[in-house]
Symmetry: none
Subunit: 208 residues, 4 copies
Amino acid sequence: MAESSSQSAARTRRKPTQARSLERVNRILDVAEQMFVEKGYAATTTKAIAAQAKVPIGSLYQFFPDKEAILQTLAEGYSDELFSYFQSLDTPEMAEISLADYVDKMTDGVEQFFSQHPGYYAVFMEVQARMPLVNEADDARLIQTIATLLPKRNPPLNAQDYHAIAFIMVKAIGNFMWLSLGQSPDFRQRLVKETKRLTFNYLQSYFS
Amino acid sequence: MAESSSQSAARTRRKPTQARSLERVNRILDVAEQMFVEKGYAATTTKAIAAQAKVPIGSLYQFFPDKEAILQTLAEGYSDELFSYFQSLDTPEMAEISLADYVDKMTDGVEQFFSQHPGYYAVFMEVQARMPLVNEADDARLIQTIATLLPKRNPPLNAQDYHAIAFIMVKAIGNFMWLSLGQSPDFRQRLVKETKRLTFNYLQSYFS
Amino acid sequence: MAESSSQSAARTRRKPTQARSLERVNRILDVAEQMFVEKGYAATTTKAIAAQAKVPIGSLYQFFPDKEAILQTLAEGYSDELFSYFQSLDTPEMAEISLADYVDKMTDGVEQFFSQHPGYYAVFMEVQARMPLVNEADDARLIQTIATLLPKRNPPLNAQDYHAIAFIMVKAIGNFMWLSLGQSPDFRQRLVKETKRLTFNYLQSYFS
Amino acid sequence: MAESSSQSAARTRRKPTQARSLERVNRILDVAEQMFVEKGYAATTTKAIAAQAKVPIGSLYQFFPDKEAILQTLAEGYSDELFSYFQSLDTPEMAEISLADYVDKMTDGVEQFFSQHPGYYAVFMEVQARMPLVNEADDARLIQTIATLLPKRNPPLNAQDYHAIAFIMVKAIGNFMWLSLGQSPDFRQRLVKETKRLTFNYLQSYFS
DNA sequence: TATGAATGAGACTTCATTCAT
DNA sequence: GATGAATGAAGTCTCATTCAT
C-alpha cells in the first residue's frame, strides 16, 4: 500500500545502517507521508505517526530530531528522485532529438512522477511555506542541470540566459503538472498538452 | 438555524456596519496580515492578534468565527482586488491593442499587485495548503473573466479552448510573478521579461 | 492546614486583584510549598500542583509563566517576611538594649521564623541551587539593613566594616538556625544557645 | 540477595579492581563533576556524561546503579579528602599551638580545599537538597574528630559540650568558606579574616 | 562482560475558544 | 453587546534505564 521510500537520510539523528532500523525509518516516512497528505502537516501528530508506524515515540525521536525533520526528509527524498530523472535526460541521444520531443519527454516525465507520488503536493506545499530555502536549493540543482543541457542546442547565449530559460522551463512544467493533479482527467490531459505547447513555443523562440 | 454564516461569503460572523466595528475588523485584518507574514500562520496566536490590534479577544471572536476565518477573509480581500484589476482590462480599447501589449499589461499589473501586497505570498501559501477549494474558486473567477475576453481576438475556438488558454495564462503569469517576489531585483526583472515572452509566444501560437 | 501565603507577586504573569484569583494563587502557592517540602522541587509536577490546588492547569500557567516562577514567588514571600521582621528591630528602643539582648532577640526571631515556616528549608535549598542571584539579592537587603543598624552602637568603623560584620552576623544566625531545624529538640536548644554565644562574642570583639 | 549494594558505601555496583575499569570510573566522575558544575545536576544527562567520558552508557550503569549514585560518589570523595585534612591536624604538635593559630590553620585549610575543588559547591548544593542524610553523616564524622581533638585543651567540659563546640566550629568555618567562594576576591579575603575572628572569639570564650 | 538501540511514561506548556459577568 | 479570565485537551519532546545481542 505504501510506496517504499528510499529517501537519503538527512537531518536524521542516526544514520540507520541496520536492517531493522532502516525498515523503521521507512515505515515512519511512509506513514508520515500518508498522514500529511490526508490531514495536513499541522494536524498530524508525532504520536500518531509513531503509533501508526508501530514504532515507539522514543524511537521516532531517535531517528528524527523533531517533527519538521520528517517533512524535510520526505521532501529531500522527492527532490532526489526528481533530480535523478532529469539527470537521466542528459544523454548523447537526448541532445539530438527535436525540441518538441525534448519538451514532451520532460513534461511527461514530470507528469508521471507527480502521479506516482501523491504525497509530493502536500509535502511541498508545507515545505515551501516553512523551509523555502531548502526547497529553493533543491530546485536550483535541477535548474542548474537543465541550464547545462540547453547549450547543446544551437544559439550562443550566455550563462545567465541559460539559467533564466531553465528556470522558466522547470518551474512552468513543474507548476502546471502539479496543478494538473487536482483536475479532472480530461482537463488534466488538456493541461499536459497545453504545458507542452507553452514550453515548446517559449524554447523555440530562443532556439529558432 | 442560529446565525448560520454563509460559507462562501467572507465568513465574518457579523457584517459590521457600525463605524467602530468596521475599524476594528480592519485593524484585526491588518495586524493579522503583518503577523502572518512575519511569523507564519501557525505561530500567530489569536490572542496576539487581538492584543496588537487593541481589540478584546472576545470581540475578535464576534467578528470571526475562528482563526482560519481571518486568513480566509484576508485571502478573499486579495482575490477581490486582483479580480478588479483584471476586470478593468475588459474595455473596448483593450480589445484593440496588440497581443504583445496585452500580455505586457497583464504581467505588469500582476507584478505590481504582488509588489504592493507583501502579505499575499505568505497568506496564499497557507491558504493553498489548508483551503485549496476557496483558492481554486477564486482563481476560477479570474480565469472565467479572461476566457470571455479572449474570443474578442480572431480565431474561432470553442469555450473549452478558451478556458484552457485562460487557465494557462493566468496561472503562468500568477505563478512566475509570485516566484519573482523572492528573487534578487535583477533576476526579478529578468523573470518579468521571460514571463512575458513565455505567455506571448504561447498566445501567439493560437492567435497568430 | 496551609499557612496563608501573602507573597508579593513577582514574576507572576497577572497580578490578580480579584478575590477569586488571589485565592487561587495562594492555593497554588500553599500546595506547591507543601509538595516541594515533601517530595522536592524536581519530583513535583505542575500538573500535580494544579490538581491538588483544584485549579485547572491552564489557570496555573496564567498566574505563573513556568514552574520555577512558583518556587521563586515562594522564596520571595519568605524573604519579604523575614526582612519585615528584621526591619521591625530598627526601633529607638532597640538601639538601647545590650548587645547580648540584641543578639538574643535576633536569634530567637530567626529561630521562630524557621520553625513556623517548614517550607523555607526545602524552598531555599532549591532556590540557592538554581537561582543564586535572586537569593543573594534578598540576603543583601537584609545585610544592608543590619549594617545601618550597627553604627548606632559605639565604635567608629567604616561602611565596609559594618557590611562585613552584618554579613557574618546574618549568615551565622541564619545558617545555624537553619541547621538546627533538622536536629533533635535537645541539641536544637543547645544550638540556639551556642549561636548566641558565637555571635555575641564576635560582635563584642568589635563593640567592646 | 543478589548483588546487594551496601547502602552506606560508595554505592558503586562493582568495585572496579581492573585497571581499565578504574580509569573509566574516574573519567566518569571527572566528567560528571565538570558537567554538574557547568550545567547543574538536573540538566546533565547520563548519556552526555557517558559520551564525554568515552564510556558506553551501558558500562556507566555497570559502575553506578543510577544517576544519583554518581553525585553521591562525588560527594563522598570530597568528604573523604576534607576529612583526611582534618585528621592530619591531630598531631602532638597541634595540641601545643595557640588557639588563634589553630583556628587559622583550620580556616586556611578549608579555604584552600574549596578553592582547589570548584566542584564541591555545585555538588553539595545538590546533595544537600536530595540526600541530606548522607551529607549529615559525613559532617558528623568530621565533627567527631574535632570533638576528640578539643579536650586536649584545658577546661573540663563534658562530651556533649565538646560535640556542640565542634559542631559550631566545623559548620561555621565550612559555611563561611563556602559562601566566600562566590564573592569578590577582596571580600573573600575579608571573609576569611572575619571567619577566623568569629571562630576564635567563640572558642576563646570556652578555652580562655 | 560490554554495548547502545530501544523504550514510553510523563514533563512542561500552549492556545483556540467559551461564557459568566 | 462587550470583555477577558478560565479552560483542559493535546502537543512535542526528553531521558533514565533496560536488556537483547
